[in-house]
Symmetry: C2
Subunit: 610 residues, 2 copies
């Protein structure tokens, strides 16, 4: 078996690092102590849940279920695992334990879970894991690892999708900033689940069938010094096959449009032109160009006093020519008029102010090549902006595209795509939306994959029942208490179709009924109660694993991705908004309320004062 076959073999199932030893040592030491104390037949129920929604939001997307189930399918300690454990644990450990461990399996484990891709909330178990105490304890860390980051990432991606709106393309570009190789793969996978459209990560594309995308880096541009570096200059016409000199065409267009852009041909980089022509020859049907490589030319000369003037001049030029075009076109009028004030509010140059220099080199060269391509039968795709003031630059670029579309009577030119990719996060997108921009696509890396705003979800795995007896873990903080006993969860919907409340009940209670009054209580605050009359009742858990078998069909990644959007649609906007969202209510039934509080008092004896 070659290494490649091996990789394929491993991956057809799951990342090979997901295995029983991917756990905390204390799970194994506890297993031994349980075994040693004769607790082999103890039967336990654990809830896997989180206590607080991430990112100061009020919802979470549940993800990672398929990986949990695949982990169970393959759960077995190998001989080398046992050998390692023997060498690690004290020599006093009874050898019988290792035989026990070698033969342990998960056939007696039952897993109830929410549907992967569902919107979920604090305290609602994402998984309920039942089975022999030792076995279910041994599953803890791996299940947490598989659910925690997957859910955090999917939630983060879903939040980006919400602020960007459904018409914007979102691409994940974070591989190089992820927590190592597999962190990068998980990021690509779960950002797709959360609503991204694709990734730059080729292996993620191959393994998970996610669309991949990418153009070129600045280094591509800088690897060309001048026109002399251009070895191939020709391209055959898409339809006729006639061979054209792309350099000649592009140079002609560059001269013809420089005035429209307020650019000066001599200031544009000829290395950049060469690079773009070569790229267009390689990808005539997918020509997208990074246009900010030479964004800073002449900074030295003009940064302090001159650029301000220059930029105003450039803007006025755009404005004069642009506004007439706009008026003719009947579209947005004078988008740029407010720019000078907003951008130079305090008479200060802000970062990105110099971006109009793009116009001089990058956008000029790009438009020249795109117009040349048009003559050869190809439609360019668009540009990528990787620095500067993205709102201003996207408006300026769009304005240029629109004017050239009219000038040359090629309407598609106005609709070319503008990709932005410089350190984007949720707040940047919100701010860009407020300023109004013409970006069609965001490429998002660091902030997305590291979940910078909150890099861990904090799921926990708590025992709620053992041998039929409920277990409560009291805590100084009420928020940290778990809800004891085996429970079912339901989502109650209102007449408007939106989810109203999630309710946890004891597993022995009857399911809430449509059109019947359900008393919903806050789990810890006595006086917080409400009657709910649901128009729809959705049981939130299904059995996914029982008797050593998968019991529910596992959806494809695309289906999970669709589920996320459907599930989010059932949530009122005030729960989803970025600023001060309304908490969604998670309640307990009256029966469960009394059960919790009886147990609480029972377990909290009255102190004695001395």
């Amino acid at each position: 078996m070659s290494h490649d076959d091996c990789k394929a073999w491993c991956y057809s199932r799951q990342n090979p690092v997901v295995q029983p030893l991917l756990t905390d040592l204390y799970q194994i030491t506890m297993a031994y102590a349980y075994w040693k104390s004769g607790k082999i037949n103890d039967y336990a129920v654990f809830d896997l849940f989180f206590r607080k929604n991430p990112f100061q939001g009020e919802f979470t997307i549940f993800a990672g279920l398929e990986e949990c189930i695949k982990f169970l399918e393959r759960f077995q300690y190998s001989d080398s695992d046992i050998k390692y454990l023997k060498s690690t644990m004290p020599s006093s450990v009874d050898p019988g334990f290792f035989d026990y461990l070698k033969n342990i399996n998960v056939n007696n484990v039952t897993i109830y879970a929410m549907q992967e891709g569902s919107v979920t909330f604090p305290r609602i178990p994402l998984l309920r894991v039942e089975g022999p105490l030792i076995t279910v304890q041994l599953l803890e860390t791996t299940l947490l690892t598989l659910v925690n980051y997957a859910s955090l990432m999917a939630t983060n991606a879903a939040r980006y999708r919400m602020v960007a709106g459904k018409n914007i393309t979102l691409l994940e570009y974070g591989l190089r900033r992820a927590q190592g190789p597999d962190g990068g793969l998980s990021a690509s996978k779960y950002s797709y689940v959360g609503g991204f459209d694709g990734t730059s990560n080729v292996l993620a594309g191959k393994l998970f069938n996610i669309p991949v995308s990418g153009t070129h880096a600045h280094s591509y541009i800088t690897s060309f010094t001048s026109i002399d570096d251009l070895q191939a200059k020709t391209l055959a016409h898409k339809q006729t096959g006639e061979v054209y000199d792309l350099l000649e065409l592009a140079s002609k267009y560059r001269d013809a449009i420089a005035g429209d852009l307020g650019s000066i041909v001599s200031e544009a980089s000829s290395g950049e032109l060469a690079a773009l022509i070569s790229y267009a020859i390689a990808f005539p049907e997918r020509f997208t160009a990074l246009v900010d490589t030479y964004d800073t030319k002449s900074i030295e000369a003009s940064a302090k006093q001159n650029t301000f003037i220059t930029s105003i001049n450039v803007k006025n030029k755009l404005l004069n020519k642009g506004s007439s075009a706009h008026t003719q076109n009947g579209v947005r009028n004078n988008t740029l008029i407010s720019e000078p004030t907003s951008h130079h509010k305090n008479g200060l140059l802000r970062r990105g102010e110099l971006g109009e220099l793009y116009v001089r080199s990058g956008i000029l060269n790009f438009c020249a090549v795109a117009l040349a391509l048009n003559d050869v039968g190809y439609k360019a795709i668009g540009i990528r902006l990787d620095s500067g003031d993205l709102a201003y630059l996207s408006n300026a670029a769009r304005d240029i595209f629109e004017r050239l579309a009219i000038k040359y009577n090629i309407p598609w030119f106005a609709r070319m795509i503008i990709v932005a990719s410089n350190d984007i996060n949720e707040e940047t997108i919100i701010s860009l939306n407020e300023q109004s921009h013409k970006i069609n696509c965001f490429g998002i890396g660091t902030h997305l994959v590291t979940c910078q705003r909150q890099p861990a979800l904090g799921c926990v795995y708590k025992m709620v029942e053992i041998n039929g007896q409920p277990r409560i873990k009291l805590s100084q903080e009420v928020a940290k208490m778990n809800i004891p006993g085996k429970k079912n969860a339901y989502r109650l919907y209102g007449a408007d179709g939106y989810a109203l409340i999630d309710i946890l009940q004891r597993s022995t209670e009857e399911e809430p009924q449509v059109k019947q009054k359900v008393l919903c209580r806050h789990p810890f605050q006595e006086s917080k109660r409400a009657y709910v009359i649901p128009t729809r009742v959705e049981p939130l858990h299904k059995v996914y694993w029982k008797n050593g078998k998968v019991c529910e069909p596992l959806p494809t990644l695309t289906q999970i991705r669709d589920r996320v959007q459907e599930s989010l649609k059932t949530l009122r906007n005030d729960h989803k908004r970025n600023l001060n969202p309304t908490p969604y209510k998670v309640a307990v039934s009256d029966d469960l309320y009394n059960f919790i509080h009886d147990l609480w008092l029972q377990n909290a004896p009255i102190g004695e004062l001395s």
Copy 2:
């Protein structure tokens, strides 16, 4: 080949996800465009470096080199990779390119690198990668992925080590909060490199030969309801083999010491006692117990008005009995005297105030079992605190241990280990140090593995030379400019043995000489210059990969770990301190300074004003 063999096979080399397709698509599209434009024989030099130290610090630890080299050793596109790329790239791509890609190898690539585990600084290349343009471009993303998180994590761990001091044991507990399975593995590996002593992650232990550690979770305690759950109660004496009833012994001790602890036996949990006895029977030589499971008993009854009084009473009791013990012992006197004021400063109960309730149940039960174990010939290891006011609780626990050590004349009892593990970060440790504590070991999870304070390092990979011509990427921000050309780096040491400055030179310059004046210049600020007379000159780069072979022995993980501490020792404390550290200087030679600035002016033509 079994799945296990396969895993072993894969891992003997490297995580199988580290492969050429673990990259951004644009590397492949650029490769095609280069190929298509006939740039097959172009030769490029790239620097991999970062621009800013993480965590508001002034140093970074370089890690991930071994993984980079292993990646090169195996660099080859597989047939299935090529098949996937064919299906993904436009159909117009010349099939000859795929043949080229299939046969590409890294035999003509040369990698210069810093030693793994070295302290390093902004702008100094961690790697210098030279070779055919297309090949070195194709390496970019994977190299960045392998270096970025590894270095960030090692740096984070080294910072924890510094604030904790060298006598504290540091354990990484972050698997469940890491960025997925492999994120967890990388975290364990590189926190060990940075100075941690071990991990809870068993697979990391197995794969990387890192010490693993762990005891039990709260669920272990709560799985025992009462003494009746205790099936085995006996333990044979370590030396004599005589069988003892551990329950009887522990119960006897519990009655005997409750008064010393200010505890009331009836308030201690008997389920907890049963759990601890069972755990001691399983691990008599490694008995460590989590003592905060029943930390909150009687909160309901006493939280608002009574506990304050109770806690003061408990403290006074400790104080009265404790201080005489201390005086006898001649050790720290009245550690607890200042506690009531500092803890109840404003007459308010703070989180953790109720922690003395540990004393009532957890610590009482632990001490009873530890004393019982002592009668059977075993020495208990210690306790773990997972909630509450860790400074106060560790002092209280140590005080109890010390008094019982005297009472029973067992000096080792005073030295038992106290592990703390609740949401620890750098600031918590600093704050605990200020308050004075008696913790011997920190178990650190979320904040360590997610690098919460700064979850990405931001290494970049920039072309600095092509076909012998230097390349400069100008930027609006001077900090974002790269230093062009092929460079060597040296560290100059002063007479006191500390590192004074790092200097970058053109590769054609002569090495700085010991005891000879070296003019060091700020790369961008003309007037910032200094003469340095080094007592030692350390070349920072070695060739690690050339002609398809590894050229330097790759150190073991432990050697890299040692290197980190040695390297940090050469750095003055003011560069390493947590608050407002002094920036370490990174300079350029006069020759390089002039070279940069000539090139800058050459590339930044004078703008024209209209």
